[in-house]
Amino acid sequence: MKITNAAVATLLVVNGTLGTSQTEIKSLETTPPKNQTEQGAPVPQANNQTAAPVALHKIVLFFFEKGTGVALKRVEIAAGNKILYSDPEGKVEIEITKDSEGVLTASKSEFEPQQITSERLLANTELKIFLWPKLTGDNVVIVKGERKNAVSRKSITIAESRKIAPGGDPAQIVSLLPGVQSQGFGSDIVVRGSGPNDSKYYVDDIEVPFIFHSIGQLSVVPPPLLAEVQFDSGGFGPEYGDATGGVVVLRTTTEIPERPKTEFVLNFPIYSSLYHERPTGEDSFLAISLRRSYIDIILKAALKSREDEMDGGFTVAPRFTDAAIFHFKKDDAGHRKLSLIAAEDGLDLIAPIDEATNEDGTAEFSISTRFVNLGYERLVRLNRQWKLTSTPQVSYLQTENDFDGNQVEFNVTKVRVPTELVKRLSKNEDLYFGMDPEYIRTENNIFSIFPRFEDPTFDIEEAEKEKLNNKASFSTLAAWVAMDKQISSLRLTPGIRGFYNSAIEKSSYDPRLRGSFEVDDKNTLKAAIGQYSKAPEAREAAESIGNPGLDYEKSIHYVAGVETKWNDRWTTETQLFYKNTFDVVSFDFDKKYNNDGRIESKGLELFIRRNLTNNFFGWVSYTYSQSLAQDSKDDDLIPSIYDQTHVLNVVSSYKLSSTWELGGRFNHETGTPYTRNSKAVYNGNLDKYQPRQDEGDRNQARLPDTNSLTLYSTYDFLYNTWKMALKAGLESYWYEPQVIGRQNNYDYSKESNQTGLPAIPFIELRGEF
């Protein structure tokens, strides 16, 4: 094949037959052959006869990445000992002689080389070539894990989270980390013995009313919008408060996309979603997301087919929707983030249950919760030393529940302006000043029982309904100061947080100290000690339905450990923790609630992490712990309902090729404690049996250990300008049914294991274009 290229000014000769691997490329020197000029014009012969001009064919090649349509620059076209490269738009122009034969090879690192036949070149004047991505060597470490002075912090990238987290939801990745228990608690987590209500979730600095939908185990934030999940299981700094457990921060992305991208997900049987992002300038982008469940439609159809079996009818329609709009802009001083998140959860249920009072023997439930949250984060570098971050936000939450004669309607409007000022003292030393004012207004229209599951005699049919019709408002204010101080290899971060809550008219303060010591370039010792306070829940401290005299719950955290970075790929972390949580709000017959409770938790955590590279990542997370509780000082310490001795998670994801990926996770957890019923009484007013327990039996029995295995496979179908990923797998499988609780017959004379749902096969189709 003879090819000319004006830029190279070289004639190329390619010999060989079409498709041979022994294609021989010869190049001629820049000196043209005897019978041609450089431009191919004939040269007059010695005998004054002119040679016939060579017929040339010009062709423009464009190179793109298969699956995205992104133009590829620096695609190498081998031409003998000459190399041609595509320009930033993926374009290269070449000329070939019209009698050319053979193939041209185009190659680029991380892509499969592609051969272009002469016939194809001659048949076109313009060709678009899409190169397939190739699985490269496992040499590049994407996540190395920066050393920060956050003692119990783990950061997981979205790339890892989306592959391995339950439901592919990054916010769920926390359940696979050390110190966290999740089995049987739904989407919410228990952190080092502290209950689900004791931890906080943020989207950057924004606090949303709820982070997880009631079905599907999905968070309200679209995964493509996230960059990282940051989790502190304890010992966190004074910038976070009102939490005695852990803090989860979903960090949104600040990476400006190079081009518009749209992603749709079809997840069977739960939901579909659509996400779109596009650059709106050199330093800004806009993202929009919408997600809706359709399990309500599927369930309705499935239950209709079982109508005849279920006398009285059974209808259940759980649903969720969420939407988000996000705008990010960088400027010379810093950046701005504007976010709007909205979500709705709902459930309509008609079921033939024992509590039914409809004449057809069914009870009706209608539950609906929705919120809208608007937040604006502004980061400004005031000068070389000072940086200011402020995130004013407003949220509106509306809940409407109607079940079995209980009616709950309340609206909550919350305005919050967390603000932090940072002064850089030196390269590794910063001084922090922060404040977090919050104003909350509620409108309540409630006539309902308030579940008190901690009361063993509580019965939803018998409990007295509480009435609350009012408008109330209260405010909280927190302020903190902290400092990062470097003394040789020792880094200390002392801090203190002060706060006031007008609902309980009480103030307090939490001193905290964290430190790390770099023993050598691999090993770092870490430790933290501090107090962490949490205000009682609004209903617990409410005037009419609670105890307004309640005080803050407090927890003292003691943490110590060592982190070892063996190399770029492997890190390990071992930590010991002890938590003494006191003034815990407990149920009280007379005052409804008191602060007499106490929880004591201690344990050992081990985290072995293989950092994310092109092909592989994974980790082993193990927690050994003990969690004891007492309702008052006069009571013995007994196992807390969150006591789980062993929690083991093994997660891994491996790329077999550029399009095939396999992954999975294994979980083993010790069974949780429960209380056996000693007998039951027949309630003649309700026509039902109510269990009774002996005080000494509380939490003395334990469920069997549980195991679950989730395996999945993902295959990418690559089209020219878009791609589709098909993910299929089996969620929560084990060879025998796993016990998630105990169940009783109608009069509690028999007890048997309650097993979880069988392994759920899932299919998810995700398109990106």
Binding site: F212, R306, T457, N685
Partner: protein, 257 residues
């Protein structure tokens, strides 16, 4: 957050029900196969304090099914305290043995027992606000036979003098189908139908009982009875007011051929 947890548990439970994950064979409450309590009612239905702090005596009538050939004994019982209720002590309950009745039906005996609750003095410490739901007095009985025991508990309400709730009365029920001594075919499904009259503004909970067989939905006014083997059998319908603690009972005998 608590409501979200409750919703999550409800949804998981419902989905399990939907996929039949909890569809295991269970004992059936409607089957009269042992000593079982089946109802309690107070008279007056709602009591009121007289002379400020003393309430009038309340008569409690209780019902239980007793296996054939067994002799029941009724005593007072003190249950675990429950939030929002005042426990009646055992010495404040006097069983009136003279009013005890034991009636034989097909497949079982029906015990009706009567007791008198006298509370010497009570301090009405609750404020009578607009959402007042009555003061609950919680009482209990033990019904025992030679080889079994049943703890039966209930409560009655006290409202201030002049309250509308003092006019509450018991619900009224009737079994429209089957009729008394109706002949039915064995091992078929038969529609049992009831009529309910609610005199008070409250929800009423129905409860079917059968000497044998299965009731599809024992809370429904119209449901099916999977008939047992041939012979005479008894059908019981009960109703109770959720607020008033009112009670009604009707019994029918059928002949299955």
């Amino acid at each position: 957050m608590v409501i979200k947890t409750f919703i999550s548990l409800l949804i998981v439970g419902c989905m399990a029900l939907a996929v039949g994950a909890c569809n295991e064979p269970v004992d059936r409450q409607e089957q009269i196969d042992r000593l079982k309590g089946i109802g309690l009612v107070a008279s007056p239905l709602v009591n009121s304090p007289s002379q400020g702090s003393t309430i009038n005596a309340t008569q409690i009538t209780g019902y239980a099914t007793i296996p054939l050939g067994k002799t029941p004994v009724v005593t007072a019982y003190l249950d675990q305290p429950t939030a929002g209720a005042i426990s009646v002590k055992t010495d404040e309950i006097i069983i009136d043995a003279s009013k005890q009745e034991l009636t034989t039906y097909e497949g079982f005996q029906l015990l009706k027992f009567v007791a008198r609750v006298t509370i010497p003095s009570v301090t009405l410490i609750q404020r009578f606000t607009d959402d007042f739901q009555g003061i609950q007095f919680r009482y209990g009985f033990t019904v025992s036979t030679e080889d079994d025991v049943e703890y039966i508990v209930g409560s009655f309400l006290v409202y201030p003098e002049g309250s509308e709730e003092l006019q509450w009365t018991n619900p009224v029920i009737s079994i429209d189908s089957p009729t008394e001594n109706q002949s039915l075919s064995a091992e078929e499904e038969f529609d049992v139908i009831a009529t309910l009259t609610k005199p008070n503004d409250e929800d009423v909970k129905l409860g079917w009982y059968v000497s044998e067989g299965e009731i599809s939905n024992r809370r429904a006014g119209e449901t099916t009875w999977t008939l047992p083997t041939k012979g005479k059998h008894t059908l019981i319908l009960t109703a109770r007011g959720k607020k008033s603690r009112g009670f009604a009972i009707q019994i029918k005998t059928v002949n299955i051929q």
